[in-house]
Symmetry: C2
Subunit: 356 residues, 2 copies
């Protein structure tokens, strides 16, 4: 039985990505070799890299003057690379959760950090709205989707500073006005590829404005100049990313994907809001993530949470246990998750509620 995969990340991949990757593990590009054992300098892999960059740019409508990089090390390494490359004196950060806080911690090693707003007072269950970004900062950084708490900022913010975002968990779920940004980064393991590769979209003229010496591998300019091939890139994760991008194009592109994502999220939020037993942890509808839906049982049913996890597990659902910082449940509805899985979860919730 194929499971209903609600993992928060690494998370569900499309069947197309899985099947094409499996084929390439046996025989990549008809070379008679596995994707696991081919040179990244082979013309066949160079073609994969080129097509991945081109399709990534096409689907996100990335304008001229930007580079797309595929690096190792994870978004967590970007928390340090961003300030190392772009923070001269002071940067502004929005604190919307654990990942934002981790980015802030690293930035402080490189300069002053102005935390313009934080939703920590309510365990990060909302997105702060009334904040002012000082005009004298090198950049403003925010996390667009907060997987742990199920909050999301789905509109490109208007600020009078260079804009940088961690879009690890909601890239490819809505059109983004890339021209507003100097840099966007993210781990691939939600809407793009298996873990092991990190994407960076960077405006070329945003680089080279800091004075500190930067180790070669941590300098974005190295990877821009070498087309992500300065050193051996993570070959298989990049190949898998290309399969996902091809699948997205088949689906009709990001606007079509966004409609599907919204429909899935609405189905689940409506079921939660209409339930006597479950309640969403994010009260404000506009702050609710369409990628990660967090919910708990109302106080009077609290002792049934463990039983519901077991109930859902028996019905083939994995990954619905909430993060320990929030408790309860979290259903991650990334692009590859079919509506069928959302319907199965909603049906399980109703059945469980009727039983009690």
């Amino acid at each position: 039985m194929k499971k209903h995969n609600f993992y928060a990340g690494p998370s569900i991949m499309s069947q197309f990505t899985i099947e094409e990757t499996a084929k390439a593990v046996h025989n990549f590009a008809d070379m008679g070799l596995s994707i696991l054992e081919i040179s990244h300098r082979s013309k066949q892999f160079q073609a994969v890299m080129d097509e991945t960059v081109a399709l990534f740019k096409e689907l996100l409508e990335i304008p001229e003057g930007y580079s797309v990089l595929f690096l190792g090390g994870g978004a967590s390494l970007q928390f340090a690379m961003v300030p190392m490359n772009m923070l001269s004196k002071k940067a502004a950060y929005l604190d919307t959760g654990v990942w934002a806080s981790k980015a802030i911690k690293e930035a402080k090693l490189f300069g002053d950090v102005d935390i313009v707003a934080s939703s920590k007072d309510k365990n990060y269950t909302y997105i702060p709205k009334d904040f002012v970004v000082p005009a004298d900062v090198d950049y403003f950084h925010y996390t667009s989707n907060n997987t742990i708490y199920g909050t999301e900022l789905r509109k490109d913010p208007e600020v009078g500073a260079r804009l940088i975002a961690d879009m690890s968990s909601d890239i490819f779920s809505r059109p983004v006005d890339i021209s507003k940004y100097d840099l966007i980064y993210g781990g691939a393991q939600k809407n793009l590829a298996p873990s092991g590769v990190t994407f960076v979209i960077v405006k070329d003229d945003a680089l080279g404005h800091v004075d500190r010496p930067i180790p070669t591998m941590l300098d974005y300019r190295t990877h821009v100049k070498k087309g992500s091939m300065f050193n051996t890139p993570p070959v298989l994760p990049i190949f898998s990313a290309l399969q996902t991008l091809k699948y997205y194009k088949q689906l009709g592109g990001i606007r079509e994907i966004e409609k599907m994502d919204i429909a899935k999220a609405e189905t689940l939020y409506n079921a939660i809001d209409g339930s006597k037993m479950f309640v969403a942890t994010v009260p404000n509808h506009e702050d609710r993530s369409i990628m990660n839906v967090c919910f708990v049982m109302k106080p009077e049913y609290k002792e049934l949470e463990k039983e519901f996890i077991d109930f859902a597990t028996e019905k083939g659902m994995v990954g619905i246990k909430g993060h320990r910082d929030v408790g309860g449940f979290r259903a991650s509805l990334y692009n590859a998750l079919p509506m069928e899985s959302v319907n199965a979860l909603v049906a399980a919730m109703k059945e469980f509620e009727a039983k009690h």
Copy 2:
């Protein structure tokens, strides 16, 4: 037809690694999910990580007091991480090629570098012998195998300083006396796994002796403390590494592998040394790599090099073109390459020589 894969890296993987990885892309650990889409926090993946570390330690006979890490970013990132974590004032480096030089370049960002010897005068075709490591350095760093030039230092050096080695391209090809080292690192994509993961063997008490602030992801202590799970690790490459380690254990461990590697290298070097047409680029036998065999055509046959590449390609050989810094040919004989492939290359050389 399965090719004879002589790529320098990423390079040939065992059929066992390829088959087991392909199976896991379809269904990992009987979870009904692909290895591409499972949480790194699942108990099934934690078991993979634990077993990979344990088997890595067992096969290399790593003593107590050392940690084994699996990180992203490649050995090139280690060129910076090593001095960032371990260079206070001055370090000694042995310059045996492009990769050693790259490591030296990064170290200079963090302190003084004493290049104790270099073989650059002869295009790195030998391993310098008579060098002295000053007693006051923080560590001595060398590259054990130089893929581009086909040289290798197959004996753990005796120096009066902390010892650090880049063993990217010859780890698991001979027993190493780990107790002599403070740190050993390497990209996995030669004798271990597909690209995307880097191993680090580090003596726990070698860390924490520098004063500079280190970004969290670049601090070895972060990964020691979290068992390489501080952030999402490269899941599939680590799974594949485990398959390779299991395969090595089946083969009888490193001493058995070393015998096979030496037999393969001797077969090829003997054919080259006995040829009228071909000549090895490394004259000194004890400096010759058993992983990468570099050879060219003698001056009188030089114009036939391109023809031999085509000839070998027709016979199903890939990756035998030499690096541009050396020219001619390079046959990489990593652990997974069968003797059959070496014999096929030797036969092709003899046939070609007879033809001309």
